[in-house]
Amino acid sequence: MNARIKFSILLIGVGIMMAFLPFNTARSFQLKPDELLSKSVSDDIYFSVDQVARFINNEDTTFQLIDVRDAEQFKAFNIPGSVNIPFNDFSDPKWEVYLNQKGLKNIYYGNDDRTACYAWTISTGMGYGNNFVMKGGLNEWYKTVMLSQFEGENITPRENALFENRFNARKTFTQINSLPDSLKTHYFNAKHLQASKLDGGCE
């Protein structure tokens, strides 16, 4: 019996086993359930809307806002600088460029907390790092940043800073979202192009 036949038997044996491996490990959760659970009960995964407003005012480039609502809602209005990844096709590999990166903090938001938390748990479970949720979603954003007014007589410096921050974010939000649809579409397309160009790089 020559070496080739022995080797072939070994290969076929391993191959049959591989064919029956239960799932594609690269496309499933990498974390163990208890690891994922202990991460998800921590409060460190949340950013408040005020923090997000500050990121926007400072044009902080270390974070990336991810809008998990559908494209229609995203087009109507969104937090400036967001990327739209509709939750309905969240598992599409084309989003990996945004989700699987180490440099930026990904902050998920939806109208409420729920969809953002689905997205958070799935992407954290898949082994992507740096995932956060904007607590309260757009409802909280609108209530706090867009609608809150200062009421009272004396304003403390802390309150003053807080309201100035909200006011500036509100201004940016209104200006960007009041652009005509054609300009918005151009802007989003340009953003997508940029991300796909950044794809790759040996690590």
């Binding site: 080797f7 072939s8 076929i12 191959g15 029956f20 491996l21 990498q30 590999p93 992507y128 790759g200």
Partner: protein, 200 residues
């Protein structure tokens, strides 16, 4: 150093040291397999010596099976493994040029360096040619960019394209390899050139 989770915490110098050892091992294996002889590589095209096919196909399968098993056992995060983006035009044109160079020169870049290090003069000229080619490409790339950047397909994977699971694809490839090994041994008998093979 990439995705092997147990060694991802190593400092930079240790990673480089590991890379050095892997490189030495690779060069040693190439030389020991006789790949520093251009006649062995050319034998692949004439059918009298198919070592190249066996070695490289085996390497590919070991890597494929190994990475999947490691990933299955949670030791390797396949997500962090870089998938080369697929530029269709560049792959086809580059493949043709590479194949022509392969048969004419009798080396591929890796084995060329392996042959250079044991002092083969033809390998030195071969690598010089390679460097000239790289230089010419770099100088002319702005003019031919539209050609080689055409038909960009992204980081594409053949199992996803075929719509089968990675495991099934591995099995298909293994069957293909076993079949080709059988075929190559037939070819070696059919086109045998003992006067060359005895010298390699």
């Amino acid at each position: 150093m990439g995705p092997l989770s147990i060694i991802s915490e190593f400092p930079e110098w240790l990673n480089l040291l590991i890379a050095l050892f892997i490189g030495v091992g690779f060069g040693f294996a190439l030389e020991q397999a006789g790949f520093s002889s251009s006649r062995r590589l050319a034998g692949m095209f004439y059918g009298y010596d198919t070592t190249v096919l066996k070695v490289f196909f085996t390497a590919a399968i070991v890597a494929l099976v190994g990475s999947q098993l490691l990933s299955f056992f949670g030791l390797l995060n396949l997500k962090l493994v870089y998938v080369n983006p697929y530029y269709m035009n560049a792959t086809i044109i580059g493949g043709v040029i590479m194949g022509a160079g392969f048969i004419m020169g009798g080396y591929c870049p890796g084995t060329g360096i392996s042959a250079l290090s044991i002092g083969k003069i033809d390998a030195m000229i071969f690598l010089l040619g390679g460097l000239v080619g790289a230089f010419l490409f770099a100088e002319t790339s702005p003019y031919i960019q539209t050609i080689f950047l055409g038909n960009y397909k992204g980081a594409m994977r053949i199992d996803e394209w075929m719509g089968v699971s990675t495991g099934v694809f591995t099995f298909i490839l293994i069957v293909a390899a076993v079949f080709l090994f059988w075929l190559s041994e037939l070819a070696e008998k059919r086109f045998s050139r003992p006067e060359i093979t005895s010298e390699i």
